[in-house]
């Protein structure tokens, strides 16, 4: 990954007195899958719309692929977006529509046709490729909208709530589709589903009140919590005796039961890392109760909720 695919600095978008973006500064590394997480009205969609050139920022700077703010003559075919609340032409059929979008972004007829067939197959729409958009279900229309983002493999793809409205099977297919693009395309995903963000994204930015309040890699956020959760094979007969044995095995740690057979160990104060904690505690746990699984850190959801409550 070299440089930023998208870089916005002190971006402000004002609607009358209200500031939808209030100094939004974010650099999305090339090849990253960046998740934007935040409450409704935080400015995630507004930021995407500014980056795609739909909205004119009141202040601040935008740079897309090192060529300044979005300009269709420069960025056509290099950036695509799944916009929220934007209907596709109802009378068109997916095949013709996607082909035309490909042609519009400068693909030759042959390449556009091939790319259309490829994304239609990837979105599981090949059998409905010639139906009108009007006749498609909400989920299918969403898949056509997603398909248009990947025509011609643009370098930057902005996805606003990409999995909303898809059935579980299609959500899984779409997740795999995005995961397969990691490192090849720069993808920004705005989502309220933190589990999806954790699975899909390499980076995450917490957005609040029109600005980024935290930006880090997903790994940093989920592993930096100083916590390991052990799922035991069975609930111990004497939980307090087990905790006592563990505390003496690794001084400076604290333990909390999350259920009858789930024990969380907070080790930040001990100065140890995850490997050292496991080396000290696992023999005790295996000997006394048996261990089914070990989970280091915390989920993105936990990290976000912890951050949100601060």
């Amino acid at each position: 990954m070299t440089g930023a695919a998208i870089s916005t600095s002190a971006l402000v978008k004002r609607y009358g007195r209200r500031r939808a973006l209030d100094g939004f500064t974010l650099a999305v590394p090339q090849g990253a899958v960046m998740g934007l997480v935040g409450p409704n009205g935080a400015g995630k969609t507004t930021w995407m719309m500014c980056v795609a050139g739909f909205l004119r920022p009141t202040d601040g700077t935008i740079d897309v692929l090192g060529r300044g703010p979005f300009n269709a003559s420069v960025h056509s075919g290099r950036l695509s977006i799944l916009p929220q609340d934007s209907a596709l032409p109802l009378e068109a059929n997916p095949r013709a529509l996607l082909y035309r979008y490909g042609r519009l972004q400068g693909l030759s007829a042959e390449v556009s046709r091939a790319s259309t067939a490829e994304v239609l197959a990837a979105m599981n729409l090949a059998d409905r490729a010639d139906s009108t958009i009007r006749s498609l279900s909400h989920g299918m229309r969403k898949r056509v909208m997603l398909a248009q983002c990947f025509i011609g493999s643009p370098e930057v793809v902005l996805l606003d709530e990409p999995l909303n409205g898809l059935d579980p099977a299609e959500q899984s297919r779409m997740r795999n589709f995005i995961l397969a693009r990691r490192g090849r395309q720069t993808i920004v995903v705005s989502s309220h589903n933190l589990n999806d963000v954790e699975i899909l994204c390499t980076h995450v930015a917490f957005v609040e009140n029109g600005r980024v309040v935290r930006m880090a890699t997903v790994r940093d956020i989920t592993s930096a919590a100083g916590r390991v959760v052990y799922t035991l094979a069975a609930a111990p007969a004497d939980p307090s005796a087990l905790v006592e044995a563990l505390s003496s095995a690794l001084p400076g740690t604290s333990f909390s039961w999350k259920g009858e057979a789930e024990l969380a160990c907070d080790f930040a104060a001990s100065g140890a890392d995850v490997a050292a904690v496991n080396a000290a505690l696992l023999p005790v746990l295996i000997g006394k109760a048996g261990v089914v699984s070990v989970a280091a850190g915390q989920s993105l959801e936990q990290a976000y909720l912890k951050h949100d409550s601060v």
């Binding site: 795609a52 909205l55 075919g77 042609r103 248009q148």
Partner: protein
Amino acid sequence: MRSLARIFQVALAECAGALRSRRALVLLLLYIVSAACCMYGTISIFGRMEQELAQLLQLPDADKTGVVSTALWQSKPFQKMVRAMVSNDLVYADIQGRHPIELVYAWFVFFCAPLLVVLTTGNRVADDLKSGAVRYSIVRCTRAEWSLGKFAGLALMLVFALAASAVGAWCVAVCRLSNATSLLPAMFDWGARAWLYSLSWLGVALGISHFTRSGSRATALGIFAVVALCALPGVLWMNAKWFDCPWLQNFEILTPSSAKILLWRRSFAPLANAAFRLVALGMFFFALGVAVFRRRDA
């Protein structure tokens, strides 16, 4: 070159969308039916006049309408009346040898073009802005290219609509008149002139359509603009007279109607002049809308 290709793609999409959604069919039907009705009504009036004349002069009734009215058209008193109505000697000289029915069609297309154009095209940009469909395109082409593509697509559809209206009017004329079979080329000629005139109104309608996200509001504003621009020459003339400001009448050049009179001429120079002025005017109003669109949120 790439810009032209994008404009072409948008124009193609506009035409394909119109065909699929049956908007094109409605457009064609509107032009054909209105032209046919106008022709039917006019010929009926001619027919009644002929019948009464025939009774008055105790002549045998003709099988088809047209014999007496052609004679009437060529009569000196009627020509004098036409000359007074046209109030332009050059135009009068040019239309003198023309068949009255083709002139009726010409009058109809020139008269109805502004309203038909606004009614059929005025909402096209506003509707796409409202639905958000425009976003899928303007991330791939510039806003100006998208707008020009829309203009080109709609202009192309108007060619077919006017050609269809000429055929519709001609069919009615052939069925109801004795000497109208040879009129089709002349009808197409007037249709082509009306297309030039329509381009300026297309510019007005699409220009306005860029200002709002509501299709019905865009159409309403377009109708208002048609009324205002058609009334403007009269208002300017009155003000110029009352306030003794003859320069006021120069603003008439901003209205498509000011160039319309040249479309009645036969020779190339005035026609080219009219074509240039009408296209320039259309582009002027259209460019105003595009300029606003380029600076607004989409």
